[in-house]
Each structure stands twice: as C-alpha cells, then as structure tokens.
Symmetry: C2
Subunit: 263 residues, 2 copies
C-alpha cells in the first residue's frame, strides 16, 4: 500500500482505487492516514457484491464494505455481483444452480437492502457489468443496459454503474447505453482487451494500446454523458504485476495521455 501510494505521488497520479484485501492487510485506519497524508483521493473501493446466493452473510459483508468505503472517503463501492451459485472461479465445476434469472433476481433484492444503507453513509454502489465470459463465475450482470435497469430502481446518489472498457467494448449498444447512463456513471475504468486471451481469462487485461480496444469513442461517450470524475486504470496482468512499478506507472501514464486523455 505504501509503495502504491508513493508511486502515485511521484508520478503525479492524483487518485487511487483501493481493494478491500489490501486495505485489510494495511489496516483501515493506517490506509486512511497513508492516502490522506499523501494528498490522494480514493477514487473507489473494490469490491462489494457476490449477492447471488441470497445468504445473509453476504449482506453483512457488503455493509462492512460500505462502512470501509465511507471511512476511506471513497465516493463509490464497486459491486461485482457474483456468478451462478456454486461456481467458483478457476475451480472445477461442482454442484451448480443454473437458474440464471433467479440469480439476477437475488441481486436486485439485495440491492434494495444495501442501497439505502450506502446512501445514508454517502457511498454510492457502483454496479459493474462484467464481460459475459465471467457470467458463470463472477457476475451475472453482463451489460451496461442491464446494470442501468437495476440502478434506475434506486436514487441516483445511491446506485450508479461502472463503465469498464474491457467489459463493455464489444457491446453493440454500448454508446447509447453510456449516453443513457449520464450521471449514473460512478466510475470509468480503462484497460485493454488482450488477444489471444491468457489461460486464466481474468488476466486478459492489458495496458491501453496492447490490445484490441479503440478507446476514443468510448471515452468521448463517457465525457459527453457528463462524467467528470476520476478515470481508473485497472489492469490484471501477470506481466504487468511482475514488471518494475515505476516503469509500469510511466508506461501507463504515457498510454493514458495518448489514448484516453486525448479523447
């Protein structure tokens, strides 16, 4: 955490998106102190969600995540809603509940509980549609349109959506759904879609320019929709993780300027 915060400061990155397990490892209070002392904004906390099983423990864990986001001053908690009950990422398929419509309905029911709780704490739930290749194991929320259908049941300050280029670039409706989203956009996340995908498709994200995505139309649409918040670069990639952090930050900043900021 200290290394990441320091890297952001040295490279002129003004905000940082945090993950819960890293916050937990550092300690919540110490993380707050680290980012505050560094003068960084926390752009988002990742992640709540995993609500498809309908169990009460998941609701409790999401309430804790909301509390943590509030303590960090994060404007939103990114929600990865969960896949089909029984499906575990990267593990062999065991007993699975294949009722996809039912899983989606349980997400809606859980949001009805969590949205007011988040709103009372000044945190917005940011529903993240994930690429459909993760529908079974990570998120039954698969398109921006579907995320907006869910979000629009709640006040705009309580539930928004994440636009992540990796997850939505292929969607024939993406530009009109970004326009529809308007002030529902809680976060804009960028990274590229690699080809070919690596064995673990979770790690198929690349630095902008290393994959197949055209960032200009997506970025222009997000700007035209009125989004003026932080843009998060989120890259799960074994090579990037193994590389020198300063080299990564410099490369990401250059590509960001060239391919995202320019639009």
């Amino acid at each position: 955490m200290a290394e990441a915060v320091d890297g952001c400061v040295r490279h002129g990155v003004e905000a940082i998106g945090l993950w819960r397990q890293d916050v937990a490892a550092q300690g919540l209070d110490e993380t707050v102190k680290l980012v505050t002392d560094a003068g960084l904004r926390v752009s988002s906390l990742c992640r709540g969600g995993f609500l498809t099983s309908g169990d009460a423990a998941a609701l409790d864990d999401n309430r804790r995540a909301i509390d943590e986001a509030a303590a960090l001053g994060a404007p939103c908690l990114v929600m990865v809603v969960g896949g089909l009950p029984g499906v575990v990422p990267a593990e062999p398929l065991g007993a699975v509940d294949r009722d996809l419509a039912g899983a989606r309905e349980r997400v809606a029911e859980a949001l009805a509980v969590l949205a007011p709780y988040a709103g009372e704490r000044g945190v917005r739930l940011a529903l993240e549609p994930l690429h459909p290749m993760y529908c079974a194991d990570r998120a039954v929320l698969s398109t921006l349109g579907q995320a907006l259908d869910l979000a629009e049941r709640h006040p705009v300050e309580q539930v928004g959506v994440v636009v992540d280029t990796f997850h939505v670039w292929w969607d024939p409706q993406v530009l009109e759904q970004i326009a529809r989203a308007g002030e529902r956009i809680a976060s804009y996340q960028v990274c590229d879609f690699l080809h070919p995908l690596p064995q673990d498709v979770l790690l198929g994200r690349g630095v902008m320019g290393d994959g197949v995505i055209d960032f200009a139309p997506l970025t222009a649409a997000v700007a035209a929709a009125g989004y003026a918040g932080d843009i998060e670069v989120e890259i799960f990639n074994a090579d990037v993780w193994a590389a020198d952090p300063d080299e990564v930050l410099a490369r990401v900043k250059a590509r960001f300027g060239e391919l995202v900021e320019s639009a």
Copy 2:
C-alpha cells in the same frame, strides 16, 4: 465423412450439419451422394462469413459457399461474420484495425450483396452471433438482437439467425430476442458452456449437462417462437473429439433427450 454419416444413421440421428472443409476433403458430389444414400437431411452448412475486411475475395468465397449449400440441399449457410481486421485466432496480435463500428458496417454491406444471391439459390444466410469473447477474432456480431437488426433489413427467406446456447445463454435480453426472432430462426444449436474455460476458449463447449447452461428456458423460447427445424448439437471439445464416436453419439443423444427434447 462416411464415419459421421454412418454414426448418425446407426444412432437414429436424422440430420447432419456439415463443415465446408470436410465437404471439400470428401468432394462435394460424393458428399451429396453419401448423405442422400443414407437418407439424412443436411441441417446446415458451416460456414460463410469473414466479411469484415471488405475485400472482394471474401465475397467470392461466400458465393461458393452458398453454391455448395444449395448443392447439399442445406436450408441455410451459417455465417460467422469475422472479427477485427488483422486479428487472427490464436495468433499474437499484429497490426489491427480497431474500428469495430466500421467492421460491423462492412458486414452489413456484404450481406446486401450476398443475401439476394443466396435467396436465388434457395439458401438462407444464418447470421450467428458469437459469444462476446470472440468479438476480436471471430465475429463482431455479438448478440441476437444485433443479428436481428441486420437480418431484418432483408427478406425473411434470405437472412435468418442462429440461436446457439453457448453464445447467447448469458444475454439478459435473450428470451425476448428469441421471441422477436420468430421465423428468422434458421438454426437452433445446443452445447454447454464449460467452467473453467480451457486454454483455447474456442474449445470451451461441452456436452449438455457438463457446463452451466439451463437449456429448458432457451429451448422452450425457441419452440414458442415457432422454430420446428432441426436442432444441431455442435461441440468443439478436445476430449469429445478424442472419445469413441459411438460413445459420444450415445451420450449426446441421452443428454439431448433429458435436457433439450424434454423442454
């Protein structure tokens, strides 16, 4: 080809979907004789498409594919429209044209040329939306709704769509789009979506029941839409390919009866 035809006959499978390269290896005339003598229907010929580069050679090749489908008595030619120009499946990314909207527009333009040609020969072009994880390298046609938007520009007997469970099961709009498709449905293809995906995601298809798809609602929707044609089982899977063909046919028939025919 002879082995596949013989297997269908012995196991009471009344129709067979053929692939162009197998037809070419056997010879078109000899394939016609094989399936005719066996009393099989040809449910479809796979595949035309790869139209995103806008070159004339692709149009010529598709005309040949249409002629072959007509000779085989196949009611439809399955169209895999192609990915982003420059992206080759399973090969490292080289020079790529990232203009996804442009690639999609070239597909529409090519269909305007090919649809009447197909119609004159009694063959229907069957637009197959592929899972979005293949958007870059195989098909910029990613949803059933998008396929119908394209198909509806043409007479129903000239351009239809393929509903393939593997490609569409995740789509929040799939049931309403199947209803919308109605008599545009040119083929219904079934196989399961495996978890976790194998290294080559093309081979992530499994025998029904081995993955995460609930076949009942999809099959019921296709039937309710009025589709009464052949249902094709299409499984790209290294283990299935390596198994004894009679065992595979027996297993597929059993699972088909249990999970698809029952719905």
